[in-house]
Symmetry: C2
Subunit: 99 residues, 2 copies
């Protein structure tokens, strides 16, 4: 897990949506459960980038691909980073909704 | 100041070197005082990206361009983000040196 890869992964609004949704859900989520404003293949790419950076882990339940945020590993490796980015993304999403 | 621009600015090792050097110096530094493994024009580009993202402020003292980290603005806008990235970059630099 490198800070370079993690920051690159987080430097995209759709990927931050995935991360904050997982952070707030407190549970693993299937790829289909995210509301991303992109097509299926772009969406699939975003999940791959996040997985390859070590931000999330993917596994299958039957034929459903599930996503788990690697919060603990990230916190151990880069203390405070995930929390700060999720908070920043939350603020950003709030502003976009005019909250 | 957008989280997207700030993360893009920080998703580069040379730019993280600038940021952590400024964070640890506690003082503003001239562009020439950073040891970056890149040429003059690339270096100049990196400072522009950081300035345009709002990560640093630049001003002249005579003919010397100075750089000031906008720590307080960043902390207000994205609490904990700069601290976490500097810590991650420190850890990364330590590993690169074999510390």
């Amino acid at each position: 897990m490198s800070v370079q890869k993690v920051l690159e992964a987080l430097a995209d609004p759709a990927r931050r949506t995935v991360v904050r949704t997982l952070a707030h859900s407190g549970a693993d989520l299937s790829c289909g459960s995210f509301e991303l404003p992109v097509g299926r293949s772009t969406s699939s790419h975003h999940f791959s980038v996040l997985r390859e950076a070590g931000v999330l882990r993917q596994y299958y339940v039957g034929t459903t691909k599930m996503n788990a945020l690697r919060s603990e590993e990230l916190e151990r490796r880069f203390p405070g980073l995930l929390t700060a980015v999720v908070a920043a993304a939350d603020a950003e999403a709030g502003q976009a909704r005019g909250v």
